[in-house]
Amino acid sequence: MSAIIETQAGTPLHVRQAKRKKQFYILLTAFFVAVQIIWVGIPIFMAVMWSLVDPANPWSFPDILPQSFSFEPWKFVFRYTNIVRALRTSYTVAPLAVLLSFVLSLPTAYVLGRKRVPGRKFFMLIVLLPIIMPGMVVALFLSRVFAGIGLSQTFFGLVLAHTLMGMPYMVRVLTTSFASIPQDVIDAAENLGAGTWVKIREIFLPMIRPGLLAGMIFAFVTSIEEFNLTFVIGTPTYETIPTILFSFMGYNFIRTNASVVALIMMAPNIVMLFIVERFLKSDYLAASLGKM
C-alpha cells in the first residue's frame, strides 16, 4: 500500500498534495494581487501621478513617468473651484441621507423580508427604479416635482433627493437581512416571553446589522457620487464634489484637475470603508448567531 502512494523518488503522496496545494494558494494569491494592482492600484497610482504633474513640464509621450512634480493642479482646484463648499455640502448631506434612507427603508424592508406580500417581486423591482433609470431622466422629472412643492434649492430637498437614490440599496440589502433571520430564533424568543421591543433589540437589530452596514456603505457612496439630481435641484445654491469633478470630466476632460478632485473624493470614502469593514467583520459572526 505504501508503495502505491509513494512516488518513484520516494516522496509521500500527502507531501506532494500539500506542496501542490501550497503552490495553488500561492498562484491564487498572486492572481488576486495582480488583479488588485491592475484594477485598483494602477488607476490610483495614475491619478496620484496626474494630480502632481507640473504644468510647465507635462507628462507626455514618450516619458514613462512625469519629468517633474508640482502641486499646481491641487492649488488650481482649491483656488478656482468651490471645492471647500462642495466638500462641506457632500459630507453633511451624505450622512443625513443615509440616516433618512435607513429610517424610511426599515419598514419596507421588514415587510418585504418577513411578510407574505402579494406582488412582492414587483415591489422589489419598483424599489430599484431610481437606479435603473438614467440619472438625468430621474433628475429632470423630479426637479419639476421638487420645484412644485418648494423643495428645489433647499437643503432638505437635497437630502431627500440623495435619500431617494440611496434607498434602493438600503431596501434590497435590509430585505435580504430580514429574510435570513431564522424563524426558530424568533419563536424561541417568543416562547421565553420576549415582547416586540425585546425582539427588535435582541434579535432583529443585531441580526440585520451586517446588512445595515452594507446598505449604509452603498447609500453613503451613492450620495457622495450623486451628480445629476444635485446639479438640477441643488445648484447654484448647493454644490457637491461630483459637480466639481464633472466640470473636469466628460466633454471638458482635464486629467490633472480631474485626478485631484477624484482623489479628494476618494480619500474619505476609503477611510470610511475601512472603518465600516472592520466593524462588519468583528460583529458578523456574533450577529449571525444572535449572540450580540
Binding site: V53, D54, P55, A56, N57, P58, W59, S60, F61, P62, E72, P73, F76, R79, Y80, T81, N82, T89, T92, P95, L96, L99, M136, A139, L140, S143, R144, A147, S152, Q153, T154, F155, F156, V159, F227, N228, F231, V232, T235, P236, T237, Y238, E239, T243, I244, F246, S247, M249, G250, Y251, N252, F253, I254, R255, T256, N257
Partner: protein, 387 residues
C-alpha cells in the same frame, strides 16, 4: 460606542438644521425692469439692486473666477459662478424652461447646443441693442453661431477656430491640401484622428472639411434654411471616403480626448479647437511643443457666446456681467490666462496659437445648421454604425 453614536447622530442633525437654516432661498420675484427700453445707467442701478448674478459655464474656471472677483470688486454685486458640465448645464435650464423664475441668470453657449436652446426659446433678447460696445464684438458671431442664426440674442464671448494639431517631433511636414492629407493618412495608419462629430465641434469641423472637398464645395449650401435633398444626394461619396479609410483613421470620443491622445503618443495629428488646445497646454495636459495651423484645405471656426435666460431671476445683473466679460480688459485677461481669441475686433493680440495669416486665408464658415444636423446623424449612421 452607543453614546458616541448617539452624540454623532445628534450632532449631525444639528449641523444639518443649521446648514438648512443658513441656506439662501432663491429669489422668486420676477424682475420688473424692461431691459429693452431701459438706459444702461438704469440697468446698472437695477443690477446693483438685484445684488447677485448666477452664471453657468463648463470651462476656464480660473478665468471666470477671476473675472467674477473683478466684477464683485467693481460693482459690489456677488457672482454665483457654477462651472458645471456642458450637457448638465443645458439639461438644467431646459428642465426649468417653464418656470416663471428660474435659478440661472446667464450662461455660456457652445455651438453644439445653440440650435436646441434657441428653438426652445430659452434666451431673452435680443441683447445686441442692450450690451454696450456691441459693435466692437465679432459681427458674424452676433448674427450666427456654427451655422445657426442667433439674431443678436447671444453675445459673443470669444472666437475660436479649428485646425490641425500635431506633434512636431513625429510630423515633420504636416499636410496643407486635402490630397496631401489623404496621402499622409495612407502612409501613417491610425496616426490621424478626430472625434465623433456628435460629441464635439472639432470632429464636426473635420467632416465638414471632407464634405467641402468630396461633395463639391460649401458655397452651394449658403443661405438654405432647410436641407435641399438634391444638394446632399452625393454625400454618399463622403461616407465612402471615410469607410474606405476606416482602418487608417482613429475615432475619439471628444475634443479633449483627441488632444489627450496626441499627448500620449497614440496619434500624431488631429483636428482641434485653438482655445481648447491652449488651455490644455496651460494646464500641463499636452506638451508645449504642440503646433497648430489652419491647413489650406480649410477648417471651420466660430466662437462661443453668452445668453441671458428668459426666466433669469437677475436679468439686469446678468446683462452687466456679460458686458463686464466683453470689456477690453477682460477680453485681454482671458486671452492671457487661457489663450481664448477675443470676441472684440478692436484689439490686436500677439502670441496666438494660430497665425493671423491662416485665419485670414484658410478659415471656413460653417454651412447652415440643418446641413450640420444632417451631417452628424448621417455620419453616425453611415460611418460609425457600419462594420
Amino acid at each position: 460606542m452607543k453614546k458616541i453614536l448617539a452624540v454623532f447622530v445628534v450632532g449631525l442633525l444639528t449641523v444639518g438644521m443649521l446648514f438648512a437654516a443658513g441656506s439662501r432661498e432663491p429669489q422668486v420675484q420676477a424682475p420688473s425692469l424692461d431691459l429693452q427700453s431701459a438706459s444702461w445707467n438704469e440697468i446698472v442701478d437695477a443690477a446693483k439692486a438685484e445684488g447677485q448674478v448666477i452664471f453657468y459655464a463648463w470651462y476656464f474656471p480660473d478665468y471666470f473666477r477671476e473675472a467674477a472677483e473683478d466684477f464683485e470688486a467693481e460693482y459690489g454685486i456677488r457672482v454665483n459662478l457654477v462651472i458645471g458640465d456642458q450637457t448638465a448645464n443645458f439639461n438644467k435650464v431646459i428642465a426649468e424652461q417653464n418656470r416663471a423664475v428660474g435659478t440661472v441668470d446667464a450662461m455660456v453657449v457652445g455651438g453644439q447646443w445653440v440650435k436646441t436652446t434657441l428653438d426652445l426659446g430659452l434666451f431673452y433678447g435680443p441683447l445686441q441693442n442692450i450690451i454696450p460696445d456691441a459693435e466692437h464684438l465679432a459681427p458674424a458671431l452676433w448674427e450666427m453661431q456654427e451655422g445657426v442664426l442667433t439674431n443678436g440674442y447671444l453675445t459673443p464671448l470669444h472666437r475660436n477656430q479649428t485646425g490641425i494639431l500635431y506633434d512636431p517631433q513625429r510630423v515633420s511636414n504636416p499636410p496643407q491640401t486635402f490630397t496631401e492629407l489623404e496621402a499622409w493618412i495612407d502612409a501613417n495608419p491610425r496616426q490621424f484622428g478626430f472625434n465623433d462629430p456628435s460629441r464635439g465641434g472639432s470632429g464636426q469641423s473635420f467632416v465638414h472639411t471632407v464634405i467641402h472637398h468630396v461633395a463639391g464645395g460649401l458655397e452651394q449650401y449658403v443661405g438654405d434654411e432647410e436641407v435641399d435633398p438634391a444638394k446632399v444626394a452625393n454625400w454618399n461619396l463622403v461616407w465612402d471616403w471615410f469607410n474606405q479609410r476606416k482602418d487608417k483613421l482613429t475615432f475619439t470620443v471628444s475634443n479633449n480626448d483627441s488632444i489627450v491622445r496626441i499627448n500620449d503618443g497614440e496619434m500624431a495629428m488631429t483636428f482641434g479647437w485653438d482655445d481648447n488646445v491652449q488651455d490644455m497646454i496651460n494646464r500641463g495636459n499636452i506638451f508645449s511643443r504642440a503646433r497648430m495651423y489652419i491647413p489650406e484645405m480649410g477648417a471651420a471656426g466660430g466662437g462661443d457666446t453668452m445668453g441671458i435666460l428668459h426666466n433669469a431671476p437677475n436679468p439686469a445683473a446678468a446683462a452687466l456681467f456679460i458686458h463686464h466679460l466683453t470689456t477690453v480688459e477682460q477680453q485681454r485677461k482671458k486671452f492671457e490666462m487661457v489663450g481664448a481669441y477675443p470676441a472684440r475686433i478692436d484689439i490686436e493680440m500677439e502670441g496666438t496659437l494660430l497665425s493671423e495669416e491662416d485665419r485670414a486665408n484658410n478659415a471656413l464658415a460653417w454651412f447652415p445648421a440643418p446641413y450640420k444636423d444632417l451631417m452628424i446623424s448621417d455620419f453616425v449612421r453611415n460611418v460609425l454604425m457600419q462594420q
